[in-house]
């Protein structure tokens, strides 16, 4: 049995009347790569801040590597917060050495590691440039180096891909995969479902302060297969307006229908035939993470926070254009 890098038990955090995180149970096994998913405002950052001891939970318990976290234990964590910043007037290398030192590295070690990371990311010639004179992309890379400099056993990345251009997103993804293959446990939060789908072994979906789904991504998908059907048809789309169909989305030349929990796809097929449209495709498809999320958290949760691109969830007005 693998031990857990992070374990939260019944963790609750309130800000005034607003409950940001509600009775949250959560466990990240060592060596896993875990996605904490949810729209903005769902409680991801608050959860992460409690893991990092920046906020204290009102109720519940946080454990790191099997016991109560203290500064020493937290130093084994590499933390990239959602809102990033560096000392603007310091030289890039000096910032890295400082951040290495406060996590217990010797200055000379910190310097050596920083230089090799800068080299790996093609930033060697910028080592002695003040941070404020670097481009935004470079600053983000420096920030990432600062996160991994002390070779943490656990990486916690809060929205690591936001604000990065595609090239740097790929670079970061590659580094994350590389660290994971070397045994680093990785927890990252994101509202980009596609990214999570590519990277994660396990996901935890939260919405409005509560956990809605948690577990192995492949298993979840298998379990959720019943939930999505792809249809291709020609004719009137009036039959799509039914309580069993949560949303519809054009994917390729078919229409993906997201079905309410417990709905038998056969019912939909029957309804479709009863409507008298010409069906040329009807099959169960593996749902995308996005669809799973919408199914469990509801459309309003997915779009309400503004975190999900709204256009992705088609509304009932979408015409039933079937492909040929």
């Amino acid at each position: 049995m693998t031990s857990s890098a992070i374990r939260l038990t019944g963790v609750t955090k309130r800000f005034g009347k607003h409950t940001a995180v509600d009775a949250f149970d959560f466990e990240v096994p060592e060596g896993s790569i875990y996605g904490l998913l949810g729209p903005n405002g769902s409680g991801k950052t608050t959860t992460i801040r409690m893991i990092m001891g920046i906020l204290l939970p009102d109720e519940g318990r946080v454990e790191l590597f099997g016991s109560d976290p203290g500064e020493t234990r937290r130093r084994r964590v590499g933390y990239l917060p959602e809102e990033r910043g560096l000392y603007r007037k310091m030289k890039a290398l000096d910032v890295l050495v400082f951040l290495g030192e406060i996590r217990g590295l010797k200055p000379s070690d910190a310097r050596g590691r920083a230089l090799s990371w800068l080299d790996r990311l093609g930033l060697s010639e910028w080592a002695t440039t003040a941070v404020q004179d670097l481009s935004k992309g470079m600053q983000q890379k420096i920030q990432f180096v600062a996160t991994v400099l002390h070779e943490p056993g656990l990486l916690i990345l809060d929205e690591p891909f936001s604000g990065l251009d595609p090239i740097n997103q790929d670079l970061l993804e590659e580094i994350v995969r590389d660290l994971h293959s070397k045994g680093t446990t990785i927890l990252f939060s994101t509202h980009l479902m596609d990214q999570a789908e590519r990277l994660c072994e396990r996901v935890c979906l939260i919405s409005q302060a509560r956990k809605v789904l948690d577990g192995d991504l492949r298993e979840i998908k298998r379990r959720e297969r019943r939930g999505v059907v792809a249809v291709g048809f020609e004719g009137d789309d009036g039959w799509l307006r039914s309580p069993e169909i949560l949303s519809q989305e054009a994917v390729g030349d078919a229409l993906h229908l997201l079905l309410a929990e417990g709905t038998d796809p056969q019912i939909i097929l029957r309804r479709c035939l009863e409507a008298g449209v010409e069906v040329h495709r009807f099959e169960r498809v593996e749902p995308r993470l996005h669809e799973i999320f919408v199914r469990h958290a509801g459309t309003e949760a997915a779009t309400g926070g503004g975190g999900l691109p709204r256009g992705r969830v088609a509304t009932a007005s979408a015409p039933g254009r079937g492909g040929f």
């Binding site: 920046i54 500064e71 990239l80 917060p81 990033r84 560096l86 000392y87 030192e101 406060i102 217990g104």
Partner: protein, 414 residues
């Protein structure tokens, strides 16, 4: 401790390496030296022609006394007949003569005198001529000894006899006044400067959001402590350089200066400038106490704000605490044993500046110093406790600045 040390080191090196530090540390003593040397540079008329004066005396009684005075004031004086002023004018124009004075009955009665010269005299030159003429007139009309008349005109000695047990203040002319005043002012400026530097540093970490990364590796209080110690060490470095500089000047430059300008610096005032070890040691102690109090308060102010503009407003009450002693310092120096002076100097927020001023003029008993230092130390701990709590909550708090009730809740609940 390693993390606090890393914070101290970062704050210290980042500051000491900057241009302003070099300018302020090296520039300030040079400016100070300039202020001392300026009178020596501008005071005397170096040009011999400018110092050569002719005196036309229509009264017939003033010349001897005036010549003696001007002679003592480094002028070269010659008598001139009153019937050929145009010849004197010609000599002035040709640059043979610095100018000439015409003394008549009005000089004897009112001290009025004509000074014909090629260019507008400096204020100092005009004043020295005016005084020499007036003193001579008084001397002639009064009769008697020259030195007595001068003393009379200047105002004689006020021989103060204090009742037993009373400690006296000092007047403006006493060199201790200068030491107290300059010392208090340097304390005020450095306390303000370094405490505000702490605030800016807190604010920088907060607005740049790096604080979240830093705080994932240490407790907020460790960060605040490291910051305060690091910035304070910069202040002490600056003092060390200044004290070294002053010592150097005292050992090399001052004797030379005294030789050139014996009136400017008497032996007594040198002794006042280079007091025993006690006063500088107390100065550093009061700086440290004040610095820990004010840097804590300013750190809390920085932590509760989200921008420089907000901090500008929020720091106002704390700055007022520093301004109060500066408003009272002149009064305290003149009457250091008045109940108001004593009372104010025991308020820990004012102790650094006001108790230093009282000590500098010899107006504080040793037990008073001891009590004020203890009170100050208690206040340092109290501020650390309160500011540490405000800092802990505020540093991660975005949004609007807390109101006073909210602030009190932070302190209670943190």
């Amino acid at each position: 401790m390693g993390t606090v040390w890393a914070v101290i080191k970062r704050e210290y090196l980042q500051r000491v390496r900057t241009r302003w530090f070099v300018i302020a540390t090296i520039g300030a003593p040079i400016l100070f030296l300039g202020l001392i040397a300026a009178p020596a540079l501008f005071g005397g008329d170096v040009d011999e022609v400018d110092r050569t004066l002719a005196v036309v005396d229509h009264t017939g009684v003033l010349y001897d006394g005036l010549a003696a005075r001007l002679d003592a004031g480094d002028f070269i004086v010659e008598p001139a007949p009153g019937d050929n002023l145009s010849a004197l004018d010609a000599r002035v124009e040709e640059g043979e003569l610095g100018g000439y004075l015409v003394l008549d009955q009005a000089t004897l009665t009112r001290g009025d005198v004509i000074f014909a010269t090629a260019q507008q005299p400096s204020a100092l030159r005009a004043l020295s001529l005016q005084q020499a003429v007036a003193q001579t007139a008084v001397e002639v009309r009064l009769g008697g000894d020259r030195a007595d008349v001068e003393a009379l005109l200047r105002g004689g000695n006020l021989d103060v006899r204090l009742a037993a047990g009373a400690a006296g203040g000092v007047g403006v002319e006493d060199p201790r006044f200068l030491v107290a005043y300059v010392g208090a002012f340097i304390l005020y400026m450095t306390l303000l400067f370094y405490a505000v530097a702490v605030m800016r540093s807190v604010l920088e970490e907060k607005t740049s959001r790096i604080v979240e990364v830093v705080l994932s590796s240490m407790r907020p209080f460790q960060l605040m402590l490291g910051k305060i110690l690091g910035v304070g060490a910069v202040g002490l470095t600056q003092f060390a350089i200044w004290i070294g500089f002053v010592t150097l000047v005292a050992l090399t430059g001052l004797p030379a200066l005294v030789m050139n300008q014996p009136d400017l610096l008497s032996m007594e005032s040198i002794q006042a400038f280079v007091p025993g070890l006690g006063l500088p040691a107390l100065f550093v102690l009061f700086f440290l106490g004040g610095y820990f109090i004010y840097s804590g308060l300013f750190a809390a102010v920085g932590a509760m704000c989200n921008s420089d503009e907000e901090a500008q407003q929020a720091q106002f009450p704390v700055i007022m605490l520093l301004v109060v002693p500066i408003i009272f310092v002149a009064g305290v120096i003149q009457s250091p044993t008045e109940p108001l002076s004593v009372g104010l100097s025991f308020v820990p927020f004012f102790t650094p500046i006001l108790m230093f001023a009282r000590v500098a003029v010899g107006g504080a008993a040793p037990w008073e110093i001891a009590v004020s230092v203890v009170l100050m130390a208690v206040m340092v701990l109290a501020v650390a406790w309160v500011a540490g709590r405000i800092y802990r909550v505020g540093i991660l708090m975005a949004g609007k600045r807390p109101t006073l009730p909210e602030l009190l809740r932070w302190i209670r609940e943190a």
